[in-house]
Symmetry: C2
Subunit: 237 residues, 2 copies
């Protein structure tokens, strides 16, 4: 049976509640989110299959999750490269960036070239708060993600997809179907249109919060911060 989903509006409300009544800090939640993303990469792309991971980060929290994931990937033995063209003045993102620079992880502004020098890609450009238009410089990045033969893991949402209705009918993301998706905290309605391997991260959600928001807690194994759930059965675009 498919897991219940969380609308964009409820995802924002849940995040707010985690940080107010739930008493989590954004640092803590982002650390756990990025950790779960890094674990999904590890499961999708064992070190023996190629260590080079290109992490494409957007300007908001989705990009922050990507920055945290890249740090953990380095410590697992991967060679991450970061594409982060719209770096925010936000203190947290700046600190996460410093943590990566201290590991001598390269940042690139040339996505096309980086794409030819990687084994796997993490799409951490836009998350559940995305709506409307894909702004520069991301249209051509999303087109490249759509067209590449390399495996792509999308964080929370394939970038440019509508959180409720899924794949866009036009624009750079038309036809973009990443190989895998990690839903953070809970799947969003777009998963109904997603076809590929599907993971959930969020092994911190209380049973009461899950109940309140009408969510299913997936079955995590052992120490995993990520659970694989039945693959999405949406159409191939």
């Amino acid at each position: 049976m498919a897991l219940r989903t969380l609308s964009a509006k409820n995802a924002a409300a849940l995040d707010q509640e985690l940080m107010s009544a739930g008493a989590f800090s954004i640092d803590q939640l982002m650390e756990l989110a990025g950790l779960s993303v890094s674990q999904a990469v590890f499961k999708l792309q064992p070190l023996s299959k190629g260590k080079r991971i290109l992490v494409a980060c957007g300007p908001g929290n989705n990009g922050g999750d990507g920055l945290v994931a890249a740090r953990h990937l380095f410590h697992y033995g991967y060679q991450p490269t970061i594409y982060y063209p719209k770096q925010s003045k936000n203190d947290l993102y700046q600190r996460l960036t410093t943590q990566l620079r201290d590991l001598r992880i390269p940042f690139t502004s040339d996505f096309e070239t980086a794409l030819h020098q990687t084994d796997h890609i993490v799409d951490a450009i836009f998350g559940f708060s995305f709506s409307g238009e894909v702004r520069e410089p991301f249209p051509k990045v999303i087109q490249a993600l759509r067209d590449t033969k390399l495996p792509v893991l999308a964080v929370d949402a394939p970038s440019s997809w509508n959180i409720e209705s899924g794949p866009p009918d036009s624009g750079p993301g038309k036809g973009f179907m990443p190989d895998a998706l990690i839903s953070l905290t809970a799947p969003k309605p777009l998963v109904k249109r997603f076809k590929g391997r599907h993971f959930i991260g969020g092994r911190f959600l209380s049973p009461e919060m899950a109940e309140k928001y009408g969510l299913d807690l997936p079955k995590y194994e052992g120490l995993d911060q990520v659970a694989e759930v039945p693959a999405g059965e949406g159409e191939k675009l």
Copy 2:
């Protein structure tokens, strides 16, 4: 070959540097520290051997690590109970406490009774900043930890041990030798006197910081946030 150790003074300097130049927040570091403690418990005490974990928390950062560990243990399927008699007004510790209360994890003020209703104990009372005297109500708690037949995992230091010289010659901790120790970031000099299973947590330290402080990065496996290193060979007290 034994891992190189970090003096109490250098441990404090390293922590400060991680949070200043290193740009880590205390929330982030404590989340990672507590996560590594929870993973050491999982390795020492598989769920099948008994799920009840008593986490004894002191008033400072060591206690905070215990609070984070307890949350993760709950999500792995354990039944933690918290003994936390000196709750600080510190915002972070209060938030970590709220996170546990939201999971309906019980807090107890009766350590003796709790000790008879658990399978495993985490000693998160004092860490690397401990020196001098054990203050109330901890003397009898440390005596009980010394005398119990149940397995005890100490976080960073067996509580009441001197960080440099190890086991005290007098006082409640005289003769206290926990079964296992997890050293956070790096072992402290006391490990030379410790006898038992030994883990390291701190899979976030950059190679450059390790070099600067003269530390060895242990070999972590897979996604582990904790590495087991050769058992301490100190004398049995």
